[in-house]
């Protein structure tokens, strides 16, 4: 199906750095991605996700460090890398005056398919990505969801073994986002395609990726499976539902003055503690003494949001 792996790892990156004048967009990144893995690069705006993906897809050069993609060096053998990868980036687009079918056919031809092969492949992908009806319409008439599906189809024309996606669902509504997740899982499972994707959404990384690297200002601050990352935060969370939701902020404040690590999150209050079972008595006692009514209570594991916040604030403090 895909090209024969010529390397033990799909992607290997060592000490990757990129400087734009005074801005250091990447400050030394190391990572490796196994064949067939769905790997997520998670980070806020400006973290360096796009810079990293542009280096890996041969669009820009690193200032320092090395990267191999599909066994080929991105600096020395960009053509080899290009043939092995499929790419849908924030920084790429399509000609809005062409139709989906035309774009797919051109893409196929440029990747060396013969005319008829290229046409057949276009039809196949249009069906797979549910674009049959729009196939012969100009792309400028496509909805956001259709554009993203076409982008994905374009990236897959030549059956690459590694797929790079830069924020593939940013700007999509929840329905289209979840539909795209299903497509990505399908591509990953059915063809064994390795996927390297970036995202700003924790739930997306959590739902899709087998491994996640959290990026913050040009550095990877953590890399693990979603469960591993959650486990890393050695804390429990006590979630309280106040009887009067509008009082949540005020209650969190009272708890903080009493020495608890509490935050109000919309209508509920979250109290972080090394051991939830031990602290719960103290929390309830305090609330009772202030005659605050509680409608519900849970002790839970931290969410990825918690991990993310903890990690990124920790690196703020570091420097």
């Amino acid at each position: 199906m895909t090209t024969e792996p010529t390397s033990n790892q799909a992607i290997r990156v060592a000490n990757l750095r990129k400087r734009y004048g005074d801005v250091e967009a990447l400050r030394g990144i190391d990572l490796s991605v196994e064949w067939g893995e769905l790997y997520g690069f998670l980070g806020p705006n400006g973290a360096g996700k796009s810079t990293a993906i542009q280096i890996l897809t041969t669009l820009i050069l690193p200032t320092e460090g090395s990267a191999q993609v599909g066994g080929a060096d991105v600096v020395r053998h960009p053509e080899m890398v290009r043939f092995r990868i499929g790419v849908a980036l924030q920084d790429t687009g399509v000609d809005p005056l062409l139709t989906g079918r035309e774009l797919l056919t051109i893409q196929g031809r440029l990747f060396g398919l013969r005319k008829q092969e290229s046409r057949n492949r276009a039809t196949e992908l249009l069906n797979q990505f549910n674009l049959q009806e729009a196939a012969d319409r100009r792309v400028k008439t496509y909805s956001g969801g259709m554009r993203r599906r076409l982008d994905l189809a374009l990236a897959l024309v030549h059956r690459p073994s590694i797929l790079f996606l830069d924020e593939p669902t940013t700007g999509l509504d929840p329905v289209n986002r979840i539909a795209l997740w299903d497509l990505l899982r399908q591509v990953n499972e059915e063809t064994g395609t390795t996927i390297f994707m970036t995202t700003q959404y924790l739930e997306e990384a959590d739902a899709l990726c087998q491994r996640i690297a959290i990026m913050d200002r040009g550095k990877i601050v953590a890399e693990d499976t979603p469960t591993g990352l959650k486990r890393r935060l050695q804390r429990d969370v006590i979630e309280l539902d106040p009887e009067h939701p509008e009082e949540a902020a005020h209650i969190a404040e009272t708890l903080r003055t009493a020495g608890f690590d509490a935050v109000a999150d919309k209508d509920l209050i979250r109290v972080f503690s090394a051991n939830g079972a031990h602290s719960i008595g103290g929390v309830l006692q305090h609330l009772e003494s202030k005659s605050v009514g509680i409608a519900g209570l849970r002790v839970t594991q931290p969410s990825l949001d918690d991990v993310f916040l903890q990690l990124t604030t920790a690196s703020v403090n570091e420097g």
Partner: protein, 270 residues
């Protein structure tokens, strides 16, 4: 030019000509879908032909015209202005690709980068040739008769294509440099001095202002007009024809060299 790249994959064949063919086909398709990028330019060319022929044709009785019709004199103006517009279109096409970022998508394919800069230029040249033929057909309908016959008209088309190529090189270089349509649009305004600081409407000998005479002598367009007018009005005298060809060759070498240089710089990874 067909090399099998085994290191890449069993089926991939690198072929510059395939890439060029595919991308040129695409550029032509897009030109066809943007008729309003073509029609105004063609309209202006025909305007030159109809209005100046209508208004000034009487002056060809002057001895400076050597007995030829004014229509034969003004046809090159329509052709050259059409050629410049058609060639400018190739720069506009590249800018559309830069702005839509389809250009970046193309860069991520193994296709030859030369092909995706050259393709819009070839499409522009084809557009220009069709336009030139159309202008000549209209002129023929207006009664154009040429001493050098069909071959003479063919030479006019080739001169127009050569001139267009020189201008396309300039338009493409500006497009790649600026990457935005305003700048490129502004840059095509050199078209005006090129077209009008010349013996555009009357022979050089009838131009009164000394400065305009000097400008016309420096302006390479004058020599292209000269070559076209030679075959349209008189015959096969080699000197004006060679001067026209020389002007085209020199200018093309400069602008195409600049385009290649700019393309290399734009496409180099940073």
């Amino acid at each position: 030019m067909t090399v099998v790249m085994n290191a890449i994959g069993p089926t991939y064949r690198r072929s510059f000509w395939r890439d060029l063919f595919v991308l040129t086909g695409r550029s032509i398709k897009v030109t066809w879908r943007l008729p309003f990028a073509v029609i105004p330019n063609l309209a202006i060319s025909l305007f030159f032909l109809l209005v100046y022929q209508g208004g000034l044709s009487g002056i060809s009785a002057l001895p400076a015209f050597g007995g030829a019709h004014y229509l034969n004199f003004i046809v090159p103006v329509a052709v050259v202005s059409g050629a410049v517009g058609g060639a400018g279109g190739s720069g506009q096409a590249l800018i559309r690709d830069l702005e839509s970022r389809y250009f970046t998508k193309l860069r991520l394919t193994p296709a030859s980068p030369t092909a995706f800069v050259l393709a819009p230029m070839i499409a522009g040249m084809l557009q220009l040739i069709v336009q030139t033929i159309l202008i000549l057909v209209v002129a023929a309908a207006m009664g154009l008769s040429v001493p050098t016959g069909f071959v003479g008209l063919l030479v006019v088309v080739l001169l127009a294509a050569g001139w267009g190529l020189a201008f396309a090189g300039y338009a493409v270089a500006i497009a790649l440099r600026s990457g935005n349509s305003q700048t490129a649009q502004a840059a095509t305004f050199v078209f005006f001095p090129l077209l009008f600081l010349s013996d555009t409407f009357v022979p050089l000998s009838l131009i009164g202002a000394a400065w305009l005479k000097v400008a016309a002598r420096i302006n390479p367009t004058t020599y292209v007009f000269g070559a076209m007018r030679e075959v349209l009005m008189y015959g096969w005298k080699s000197r004006p024809i060679l001067e026209g060809i020389l002007a085209i060759v020199i200018l093309s070498a400069i602008t195409l060299g600049w385009a290649v240089f700019t393309a290399r710089r734009t496409l180099r990874r940073k």
